[in-house]
């Protein structure tokens, strides 16, 4: 279970560029919730994910994972709870290292690392099996450098890495936005599969409203650092893209028409 209570964050405080990024966020994720997060540019979607992951410290409030307060922990200390996939396919993998080495780094997420061998034989068997599941043929290229893979392959690998050790929370930050439509679909299908298999508690930011509606059991909409809409279950199932657009209109008093969300 993940709880955000009264989380505030302002960037560049006291300067002309001051930006209230999170304005009193309250959110409770139940075990196994798959939540899609939508909202215009600068609504605070990515900021919220980054705050949970610990990329920046928050100004006020609390973030709890399974009753443990992680608000003041460093990013690397929070990693034991959290798996992440980023928008940029380059961000989630080490290009100069082998596929199996990348997996072995992820296999030890949050664990103490010592002087035992980096990739053991029994791990390789496991990785082979897991890679096979992706259906991209990567299981036959385990000692290839990740830099040789395409963006979609790298993103699929990152997804596998993020879930290799079951995380208490999976953060997906527009992880298909940089991919072509066909690849995006593959990665999204994989996401659905991995999340539902282990019933992972997931927050997925997306700019694609259809995806936001199709995936997950719950949807939240953000605007100017606040959660303005939170819908789940049957109510979410019935939701249409047009309903979401209307919500946006209401929240942003018409300025929404310029937003790139419209294209989705």
């Amino acid at each position: 279970m993940v709880t955000l209570s009264n989380v505030y964050k302002t960037f560049n405080k006291g300067t002309i560029n001051e930006k209230k990024a999170l304005d009193g966020i309250n959110l409770q994720l139940n075990e196994g919730d798959f939540v899609t997060v939508i909202g215009g540019n600068g609504a605070g979607k990515s900021t919220m994910l980054n705050m949970i992951a610990g990329v920046y410290p928050i100004d006020a409030g609390k973030i709890l994972v399974n009753q443990i307060n992680i608000s003041r922990k460093e990013e690397y200390q929070r990693a034991i709870h959290i798996g992440r996939v980023f928008q940029d396919p380059m961000m989630g993998t080490a290009a100069g290292m082998e596929i199996q080495e990348n997996l072995s780094l992820a296999y030890r997420r949050g664990q103490k690392r010592g002087l035992s061998w980096g990739v053991t034989k029994s791990e390789k068997v496991l990785y082979h099996e897991k890679l096979k599941m992706l259906g991209l043929g990567l299981e036959n290229r385990m000692s290839s450098k990740v830099g040789l893979l395409s963006g979609g392959q790298r993103q699929a690998l990152t997804l596998l890495m993020a879930t290799l050790v079951e995380p208490k929370l999976l953060l997906l930050d527009e992880h298909t936005a940089a991919l072509d439509p066909k690849t995006a679909k593959t990665v999204l299908d994989l996401t659905e599969k991995l999340v539902s298999e282990s019933k992972l508690t997931t927050l997925m930011v997306t700019h694609n409203m259809k995806d936001a509606l199709r995936l997950g059991n719950r949807l939240i909409m953000m605007h100017e650092g606040k959660i303005i809409y939170d819908v789940s279950g049957e109510e979410k199932q019935k939701l249409q893209v047009s309903d979401l657009l209307k919500k946006f209109e209401e929240a942003s008093h018409g300025s929404f028409a310029n937003d790139r969300m419209l294209l989705a």
Binding site: E75, T93, A94, L105, R109
Partner: protein
């Protein structure tokens, strides 16, 4: 002709012993993407500590090398501390430590150089034991030490901690998201690197039979030159042990070229200029080639050369 062979053998030995320093530079420059200028200071530090301990402390030369290495680890830790905790850019942090080490090295020696003429060194011990010529001993012992270090590094960078260091150089964000304190891993890399550099300084001091306050000046440039040369010669090598070996071979080639140039009558004082120009060229050429190719492949009509990005 004999003179040439002797000077070549000397240059090869020198290249091998300095090669340990190059391995240290390789760790920061290639694996961690940090240009660490501590090296000039920590190389001299290794020599100074080693010579002072042997002469004034009458210490066993092997033990003295061990302590010189520890001193190097400490120097790296200071740079690491300035860089990771106080977020000073790595280059500046290295320069600060390097400058500080100049004074510290003078303090350690109490003067600007310490000769090692009538004391035991690791080389003289082997010479006495085997009865071989000092020159051959330097080369053979040097090669054995370097091979041992390459083996240790090969093992280390295959371990969990070693993989983390490589990943830190590769993609810091990613490895932090996987639960690694990257400040710590950079610290470890800087320490390991400067430990090797100081060890090299200590061994070089023992082989040349003196330590000098200026012995590390320009070491970083030599290190970079050696790495670049190694890269060019062993372009196809992918194996990590092979890559490490190529750095040492690069060092040997550098010292051989240097010996030849000096033999051809170049003033020794111009050597640093020569090294700097060499490294600058080595770094410029790949950029020039890339720019040239971009220009050449451009065509207004499109697809003339059939090259796509």
């Amino acid at each position: 002709m004999n003179g040439l062979l002797v000077s070549l053998e000397g240059a090869i030995s020198q290249g091998v012993l300095w090669g340990i320093m190059v391995l240290g530079v390789y760790i920061t420059y290639k694996l961690l993407n940090i240009a660490d200028l501590t090296v000039d200071g920590s190389f001299a530090l290794g020599g100074c500590v080693c010579a002072t301990l042997i002469v004034s402390g009458q210490m066993n030369p092997i033990l003295a090398l061990f302590i010189a290495t520890l001193a190097g680890l400490l120097a790296g830790a200071i740079t690491g501390f300035l860089h990771t905790i106080f977020e000073i850019p790595a280059i500046l942090a290295g320069i600060l430590t390097q400058i500080a080490l100049w004074s510290i090295n003078l303090r350690i020696m109490g003067k600007s150089n310490v000769p090692l003429l009538k004391v035991d060194t690791i080389f003289s011990k082997v010479v006495n034991f085997l009865g071989m010529k000092q020159m051959h001993v330097t080369l053979i012992l040097g090669v054995l030490i370097v091979l041992a270090i390459i083996a240790i590094l090969y093992w280390f960078f295959g371990t969990e901690i070693g993989s983390v260091l490589r990943a830190t150089g590769n993609n810091e964000n990613m490895i932090r998201a996987l639960g690694v304190n990257t400040k710590k891993s950079k610290m470890v890399a800087l320490m390991l690197s400067n430990g090797l550099v100081a060890l090299s300084g200590g061994i070089v001091a023992q082989s040349q039979k003196y330590a000098d306050i200026g012995m590390g000046t320009g070491a970083i440039v030599i290190g970079l030159a050696a790495i670049v040369i190694g890269d060019v010669i062993f372009r196809k090598v992918r194996n990590f042990a092979g890559i490490l070996t190529s750095a040492v071979v690069g060092s040997v080639v550098y010292f051989v070229i240097r010996a030849l140039v000096l033999r051809l009558g170049m003033n020794a004082n111009d050597m640093k200029l020569f090294s700097a120009v060499f490294v600058a060229l080595a770094l410029c050429i790949p950029v020039l080639i890339r720019k040239y190719k971009q220009r050449r492949d451009y065509s207004e009509g499109g697809e003339k050369n059939g090259n796509t990005i």
